[in-house]
Symmetry: C2
Subunit: 189 residues, 2 copies
């Protein structure tokens, strides 16, 4: 009851992921998550509003917006986006196993896949807004943010699937560079 539980949040997250993987997300209750973590439901609800939030609580939007705002004014939009993605990549690097298990849970559930798409769209929107606040034109801001998220998504799969991965930030940078080769200007043909 209100007493401090060492790393309660991390234990709840780990228990939740284990149960989602074992039984499926729908079949898991908050009571079961709390029990496996050796904590109470009340403690669960001090950290998360519901069992879905365990998977979607990372404040990535805020990190992206802050990182874009922190880049020098002269930074090109795509480089501001690259810097922001590198900033959140650090958060993922610290928890690769969590990210991998989380992905497996989401792949297994259509509703969670939809939630993940919405989250990704909201990340793109947050970056586009942050770019507009720097005076980047509307269309360029949207395109740059969407392209950044596209590179992020593809890089995430490569990073998670790699047996012996490079840094996630490095893979994102490579994906952005690959995009530059893919989307070359139209040929006069």
């Amino acid at each position: 009851m209100g007493r401090w539980e060492p790393n309660a949040r991390g234990r709840l997250e780990q228990s939740a992921l284990e149960l989602y993987l074992e039984r499926g997300f729908e079949q898991t209750t908050v009571a079961e998550i709390a029990r496996r973590a050796g904590l109470t439901e009340r403690t669960f609800f001090r950290h998360f509003t519901d069992k879905r939030e365990v998977l979607f609580s990372a404040p990535l939007r805020e990190h992206l917006a802050t990182a874009i705002a922190a880049t020098p004014a002269a930074t090109a939009p795509i480089d501001a986006v690259a810097a922001a993605l590198a900033a959140i990549a650090v958060l993922f690097e610290e928890r690769r196993e969590f990210a991998r298990q989380r992905r497996a849970v989401i792949i297994a559930n259509t509703g969670l896949q939809e939630r993940e798409l919405i989250k990704m769209a909201s990340l793109a929107a947050a970056m586009a807004d942050a770019l507009r606040e720097r005076g980047v034109g509307d269309t360029t801001a949207s395109l740059t943010a969407e392209v950044g998220i596209a590179a992020f998504k593809v890089a995430f799969e490569r990073w998670i699937d790699a047996a012996d991965p490079e840094s996630f930030a490095q893979i994102i940078r490579e994906s952005l560079d690959e995009l530059a080769v893919i989307v070359r200007p139209a040929q006069d043909s």
Copy 2:
């Protein structure tokens, strides 16, 4: 009952959009849509499974996949994607007012916005699959398809908002060209 109604589908679509705009999507019933179109509910259900499908019935995935498969084998992935987007742009051009009203309905409803995101993601997946079937590498296929959809989304907004629009296909091409400028290779700085 079963008799042929001239342009029943188009009349149902128009009546549905009018009602969604007047009353909101949630507040509109299939019975009201059919009545306004001067048709029966039974006729509605011969054309659509539910009132949401009126907004999401265009077979864009199939058109994109077919168009990519139809481009010459030597076509670069981004050009195959551009050709596919140009092919569906034609469908939109024929019905700009429908597209504009549909967008207004979707903007007004969170559930429909989510559905639209899912539809866009499925279009990207369909293009990526079509590219893989041509032997394009996994990462390149995903990146190219995602970038194509990013350009499409931004171009759609520009096309719908323009007072005196150029062709939608042309605006998509311009967005792809702008992307090429935005995502230039990393500078050695």
